[in-house]
């Protein structure tokens, strides 16, 4: 059976739940870039991101029947991706960044907004500055400005309180501005 853009994500999941592989193909083509981008924002490693993309999609295939419709399909899927990364880090014995203190006050002087504004328009500079941030800060900026999610949706994906999302976004933006301003000064 051919699937089109008119088929909602929920419809595809329902068909996948009864074993329709064509529905899974349509779902993969629709969401591959989104999941891959998200994984890349967390991992900063295209090979691992490709591996985990496969794992996430396989998990979606296995769990299609269990999708309860309490959240949007994309929120549910990115939640699976988040968990896959956490499991990957645990297997690697890597720091999970769960000890990131989002309530720490930043006493360093604020960045020069004009310098940051000039630098943020350059894709290469932005990419380089994002890479200096911690994975949770990169991830949260991705969820806000690429996925365009609100704080409640992000809290649901990351399984953290909304207040933590709020403070993490605030710190991530400030850190990014400082990196951008520094990049601008050194160019």
């Amino acid at each position: 059976m051919e699937y089109s853009v008119q088929d909602s994500d929920e419809q595809l999941l329902r068909t996948m739940a009864v074993g329709d592989t064509e529905a899974m193909t349509a779902f993969y083509r629709r969401h591959e870039t989104r999941v891959y981008r998200y994984l890349l924002s967390k991992l900063n490693d295209s090979f691992v991101a490709a591996d985990l993309l496969n794992e996430v999609m396989l998990e979606v295939w296995r769990s299609a029947a269990r999708f309860a419709g309490r959240a949007k399909v994309t929120t549910w899927m990115l939640g699976i991706a988040h968990n896959k990364v956490m499991t990957h880090w645990r297997k690697q014995g890597a720091r999970e960044f769960t000890d990131l203190d989002d309530n720490l006050t930043d006493d360093t002087p604020a960045a020069d907004l004009e310098q940051a504004l000039a630098a943020v328009k350059d894709g290469q500079v932005l990419r380089a500055c994002m890479q200096t941030l911690s994975p949770p800060h990169r991830e949260i900026l991705h969820l806000v400005f690429f996925e365009e999610l609100d704080y409640a949706e992000i809290a649901s994906i990351l399984q953290i309180p909304e207040g933590t999302v709020k403070s993490r976004v605030y710190h991530a933006k400030n850190l990014l501005k400082k990196q951008l301003a520094r990049a601008m000064r050194s160019s």
């Binding site: 591959e32 891959y36 981008r37 490709a50 396989l58 295939w61 943020v120 894709g123 932005l126 704080y151």
Partner: protein, 194 residues
């Protein structure tokens, strides 16, 4: 780190509700620093959205399809049968019935006729063969009625403490056919013809 922080993000993403958007833009008009912050966020969103990325594409899809083929066939798992005791109970009941008939037989039966036993209701008990039947726990009275009527039978005994009924069938009815008819009902757990 206040409410306006999230509002600015939503504004940059074009997701702020109209009334809030107007109110925020009014504030921006009065506060140049706020306006520059909003401009920064809009530029950040724009650059992030334009960031090129090359996902695995068809190769990734082929890899996924291979992994899906290697998945074990997930046939729905049937829960293990919990009421395994029912056939045992039916067999035990049968044994007791046979023993009782053998022990009491000489005094109660003369030739081929029961002499002292008749139903208190005065209705005749079907003279045909008997079946023992047990139903699934969630079976309703209507289900049981449908099953009994499907073989023109009547309940002559039961349910026992273990939920076993004895059905009487009309004379001349094929026991095998009746068993087959009853077993076709999903809610019938066991049917045994003595």
């Amino acid at each position: 780190m206040n409410k306006i922080d999230e509002q600015l993000n939503l504004w940059a993403n074009g997701r702020l509700p109209e009334a809030e958007r107007q109110a925020l833009e009014k504030k921006m008009a009065e506060d140049p620093a706020l306006a520059r912050e909003a401009e920064f966020l809009k530029a950040l969103r724009q650059t992030v959205q334009n960031e090129p990325v090359t996902p695995p594409g068809e190769l990734g899809l082929a890899r996924l399809q291979k992994a899906m083929r290697e998945e074990p066939d997930e046939a729905p798992e049937m829960p293990p049968r919990k009421n395994f005791w029912k056939p045992v109970a039916i067999a035990a009941c049968l044994m007791v019935a046979v023993q009782a008939a053998l022990l009491l037989g000489p005094t109660l039966w003369k030739g081929d006729t029961a002499v002292d036993i008749s139903p208190a209701s005065g209705e005749g008990i079907p003279a045909g063969p008997r079946l023992q039947i047990a139903f699934a726990p969630e079976t309703t009275a209507a289900d049981i009625q449908a099953a009994v009527l499907s073989v023109n039978g009547s309940i002559v005994a039961g349910p026992s403490a273990l939920g076993v009924f004895r059905l009487g069938l009309p004379e001349g009815v094929s026991t095998e056919a009746a068993v087959e008819t009853l077993q076709a009902f999903e809610f019938v757990d066991e049917v045994i013809a003595p």
